[in-house]
């Protein structure tokens, strides 16, 4: 596809562990265009964070990338083959330069004994050719931009002096101050209260409109995805089972897993609707099922179906909307 900011093809990530080789991400592909928000939803162990870290080669040393895996990143005119980068000075371009990341736990992401300002200035000095004075000025501007009051005072405070919501705002200010082309947000609102989460979602939407970067938004919360993303990919045990425009996927989920996730969610507009759990438990990554990874928990499948042995292809169920189904199982639209 032309014009995509980042293009991930057949990404496979395994980890060497004492118990053997654990496959965490299994042949996934996706694209993000500039100014587009791609939501990546999945439960624990689905491989969404490993996917995100792969984009910056931040996975632990025991990670092995599969042979056909490729990540091409095009921040400007040149395309970078991310997985081929080896030297630290080359990595600098993707780590915090053209790609920035916001983490889940804002308390753990700031150094506790260095002021917020010094941390923001440090990364600006590393990634841009600003002077210290310019970097400090920009940092204060960015804090102001994300809605922190008295930014010239806050800049000299430590992380523990800010509330949870304010810390996450400071984290966003820091991530955006280098003007990244791609922002990876890994569960940025999960540790926050709902009222603060709503503010952070608003803020991120404004910033996309203003800066026009691409965002990979990772969360387990479909409601947050519905409110932020343009497109969504649903991950389970390292595979993408469904992806497409957010409206179409949420209104007409084609894969049994996406349907199950939506049915399991307590909804406020119908208090009498029963909660339908997805049967069974998420298997351990050491015991990955053959065929479709979701087949042991899929209540619709009869014993002996193709899904137990064959991996279903990504089939287009509606324009731009794909699901891991054999073509004959694509549900008819009402």
């Amino acid at each position: 596809m032309t014009g995509s900011l980042i293009s991930v093809r057949d990404l496979t990530v395994c980890f060497h562990t004492d118990e053997g080789l654990v496959t965490s991400v299994d042949g996934i592909s996706f694209d993000i265009a500039p100014g587009e928000v791609l939501g990546l939803v999945g439960e624990s162990g689905s491989g969404k964070s490993v996917t995100a870290k792969s984009l910056m080669q931040l996975n632990a040393d025991n990670a092995v990338y599969g042979e056909g895996s490729s990540i091409s990143f095009t921040p400007g005119n040149e395309t970078i083959d991310v997985l081929a980068l080896r030297r630290p000075q080359d990595m600098k371009v993707i780590r915090g330069g053209a790609i920035s990341m916001i983490f889940q736990e804002p308390m753990a992401s700031f150094a506790p004994a260095i002021t917020i300002g010094d941390q923001m200035v440090e990364q600006l000095l590393l990634h841009t050719d600003m002077t210290k004075r310019q970097a400090r000025k920009l940092s204060i501007e960015m804090l102001d931009r994300v809605g922190i009051k008295d930014p010239d005072k806050r800049v000299d405070q430590y992380a523990f002096e800010l509330s949870g919501g304010m810390r996450q705002r400071a984290m966003i200010a820091m991530a955006l101050s280098t003007k990244p082309k791609l922002l990876i947000a890994d569960e940025p609102t999960t540790a926050l209260d709902v009222t603060i989460q709503a503010q952070v979602i608003e803020l991120m939407k404004d910033l996309v409109a203003e800066f026009g970067m691409g965002i990979l938004f990772i969360t387990h919360d479909l409601g947050v995805i519905a409110q932020t993303a343009d497109r969504v990919s649903v991950m389970y045990l390292g595979r993408i089972l469904e992806s497409g425009p957010v409206r179409d996927v949420i209104r007409h989920p084609a894969h049994a897993y996406t349907q199950g996730l939506i049915n399991a969610l307590p909804k406020l507009d119908d208090l009498d609707a029963p909660l339908t759990p997805i049967p069974g438990d998420i298997p351990s990554p050491l015991e990955r099922p053959n065929g479709c990874v979701f087949h042991p928990r899929n209540p619709k499948l009869k014993p002996g179906s193709r899904y137990e042995t064959e991996v279903p292809p990504m089939t287009e169920v509606a324009p731009g909307h794909f699901a891991a189904l054999f073509p004959e199982d694509v549900p008819a639209r009402p």
Binding site: E43, S44, G164, D193, V194, T195, Q197, A198, Q199, I201, E202, H220, D221, L222, G223, V224, A226, Q227, V246, R247, I250, G260, L261, I262, A264, L265, P266, K267, L268, L271, P274, L275, T276, P277, I278, D281, I282, S284
Partner: protein, 281 residues
């Protein structure tokens, strides 16, 4: 109407924070003058954001946090206790009647004990059974009710997923046949697909074993689905309490309204319009 099981009357839990320069003690009002009635057989929801005092209140009712003012009364028809002034023997008896389910099933279970020993421990510590045989019998009964396989009882917690672990901690809380259970964020650490399963389990156990629940949660949509009465806490105080349907269909307090407006809708065309709550002075 029958007497409520738990009557909380202007209960406060204040923690002293040391003294200021002028000798005036500063206190942290974790719970401040809270009153509630928890009816027998109800599923009572307590919602609030972090730091609202919901956990402290739940613990004060169990006398696991100090009660510095007001009174908590517990009356199940057999005994009638003033929780703040229980002596040692009565407190031991109360521990049997009121139990707690914790949030994190990964931290709540000892990794060195088998599932059988984990579930049996409350019975052994409180000396509720006459011997090993009876203990095993009770453990097997409650495990079956919590949908655990009997072969699971010999294994250690590390072999289980989050949902199964939470079923083990529920079995442990219920093995001494309590009447009242405080579930503190019992599903917050679980994935959505598992969460629904645990909620359904709690509901069915409540019916089968005639339990009364105090369900503490930060998640309004979960509370809306399982509870029949809800209290909303903010900064140590109750802002609003009402039957669930009434609270969600017609919230009265501005804070409840702002909480409800902040929940992201599943419908992408229904934009988030969070109202900001500013407490009046």
């Amino acid at each position: 109407m029958t007497e409520p099981l738990v009557k909380v009357d202007s209960v406060s839990t204040h923690y002293p924070l040391g003294r200021s320069v002028f000798g005036k003690p500063t206190v942290l009002k974790a719970v401040d003058q809270v009153s509630l009635r928890i009816a027998r057989g109800s599923f009572f929801g307590l919602v609030g954001e972090s730091g609202s005092g919901k956990t402290t209140l739940g613990r004060a009712i169990l006398r696991a946090a100090p009660i510095t003012g007001g009174s908590v009364r517990y009356d199940d028809g057999e005994v009638n206790y003033d929780i703040g002034t229980l002596d040692k023997t009565a407190l031991r008896d109360y521990r049997k009647r009121a139990q707690l389910i914790f949030q994190d099933p990964y931290a709540a279970l000892s990794p060195r004990m088998t599932v059988r020993d984990i579930i049996a421990e409350p019975l052994e510590v409180m000396g509720l059974t006459s011997g090993r045989e009876e203990t095993d019998q009770r453990v097997r009964e409650i495990a079956a009710k919590c949908r655990l396989n009997l072969e699971h009882l010999r294994r250690f917690p590390h072999a289980f997923s989050g949902g199964q672990r939470q079923r083990i901690s529920i079995a442990r809380a219920l093995v001494c046949s309590p009447k009242f259970v405080v579930a503190d964020e019992a599903v917050a650490a679980l994935d959505v697909s598992i969460q629904a399963d645990i909620l359904n389990l709690l509901k069915s156990l409540q019916r089968d074993l005639d339990l009364t629940f105090l369900f503490i949660s930060h998640d309004l949509s979960v509370v809306a689905h399982v509870c029949d009465h809800v209290a909303v806490m903010y900064h140590g105080r109750i802002m609003e309490q009402a039957p669930t349907r009434q609270l969600f269909e017609n919230p009265q307090h501005d804070y409840t309204k702002s909480l409800l407006s902040a929940i992201p809708s599943l419908d992408p065309d229904e934009p988030l319009r969070a109202q900001v709550y500013t407490p009046s002075a």
